[in-house]
C-alpha cells in the first residue's frame, strides 16, 4: 500500500516537471527532431546527469541496490527505437 502511495507521489512530481519543462506540448517534442528547440534533450540530459550521480553515489556507499536494469538485446533495442521515433515525431507525445 505504501508503495502505491509512493508511486502516486512520484508520478505526480514526474508529471508536474514534464509539464513545467513544456514536454506535454506537441511542438516541444516535434521541434527537437527539427533542431529548432532542444528542450527535450536539455531536460533528458540534465535528468540523466543528476540521477546517475545520485544513484551511483548512493550505491557506492551501500544505501541502495539497483532494480533490474533494462535488458540489452541490440537489434531489438535499435529496431524498437526506430519504430518509436516515427510515432513520437508524428504525434508529438
Amino acid at each position: 500500500m505504501i508503495n502505491y502511495i509512493l508511486a502516486l507521489l512520484l508520478g505526480f512530481a514526474f508529471g508536474f516537471l514534464l509539464n513545467k519543462a513544456g514536454l506535454t506540448r506537441y511542438h516541444k517534442i516535434v521541434n527537437v527532431f527539427r533542431f529548432t528547440d532542444m528542450a527535450v534533450l536539455k531536460f533528458m540530459m540534465s535528468g540523466l546527469v543528476v540521477s546517475m550521480i545520485g544513484l551511483y553515489g548512493l550505491q557506492g556507499i551501500g544505501l541502495i541496490t539497483f532494480p533490474t536494469v533494462p535488458a540489452t538485446y541490440i537489434v531489438g533495442n535499435i529496431v524498437g527505437g526506430l519504430i518509436f521515433g516515427v510515432g513520437m515525431a508524428a504525434t508529438g507525445y
Binding site: Y4, A7, L10, G11, S46, M52, G85
Partner: protein, 177 residues
C-alpha cells in the same frame, strides 16, 4: 518563499532545472520503491487486463504472462500520478484548458481538421507503443531510467529514436514552417 511560489506559477521552467529535479525524482523512485519511472509499460499492463478478460486464449502467451503481467501495477499508479501532476502544473500556471488541437505549429502543417489530429494521434500512438514494446521501454522508462543505470539498451534506443524521429519530422514538414 514568495519567489518559490512565483516560480511554481510560471508557465515554463528552464529545462535544466526541471530536468535536474527529474533526476532527483528518478533517484527517489529507486531508493524508496526500487522501481523505475516508466510510462509505456502501464499501457501494456492495462491492455493485458482488458485482453485477458475479452480473449483469454489469445492473451495467454509468454509476453503477457511473464514479461508484462496484466494488472494494476506500480507503473499504472505512477501514470495516474503523472496525469494529476501535469494537470496541477498547468492549473498553477493557469494554462489548463481542454484543447482539440495542439496550440502551435500543427495548423500550419496539418490544417485545422480535428479528425486529422485524432487519426494521426491514434495510429501514431500505436506505432509508438509497438516500438516501446519491442525495445523494452519508452523515453522515460528506457531512455532516462535505463540511461541513469548506464544500461546500453537505453543508448541504443536513444540513437534509434532520434534517427527515425528526425527523418519522420523532415518528411512531415518538408520545408513547411
Amino acid at each position: 518563499m514568495n519567489s518559490v511560489i512565483t516560480y511554481l506559477r510560471k508557465e515554463e521552467w528552464s529545462p535544466y532545472i526541471a530536468g535536474g529535479l527529474l533526476g532527483v525524482v528518478g533517484v527517489l523512485a529507486v531508493a524508496l520503491s526500487n522501481s523505475l519511472l516508466g510510462a509505456s509499460g502501464a499501457f501494456e499492463n492495462l491492455a493485458g487486463m482488458i485482453g485477458k478478460a475479452l480473449a483469454p486464449d489469445l492473451f495467454s502467451n509468454m509476453y503477457f504472462n511473464f514479461i508484462m503481467p496484466p494488472g494494476i501495477t506500480w507503473q499504472v499508479i505512477l501514470l495516474v500520478g503523472v496525469f494529476f501532476g501535469a494537470m496541477a502544473a498547468a492549473m498553477l500556471a493557469k494554462t489548463w484548458k481542454i484543447r482539440w488541437l495542439p496550440e502551435k505549429q500543427w495548423d500550419i502543417v496539418f490544417g485545422k481538421n480535428r479528425w486529422t489530429r485524432w487519426i494521426i494521434a491514434f495510429f501514431g500512438a500505436i506505432v509508438l507503443e509497438i516500438g516501446a514494446g519491442i525495445a523494452g521501454g519508452c523515453t522515460s522508462g528506457l531512455a532516462i531510467s535505463g540511461g541513469m543505470l548506464l544500461a546500453p539498451a537505453a543508448y541504443l534506443f536513444i540513437a534509434g529514436m532520434f534517427a527515425s524521429g528526425i527523418v519522420t519530422a523532415l518528411i512531415l514538414y518538408r520545408g513547411k514552417y
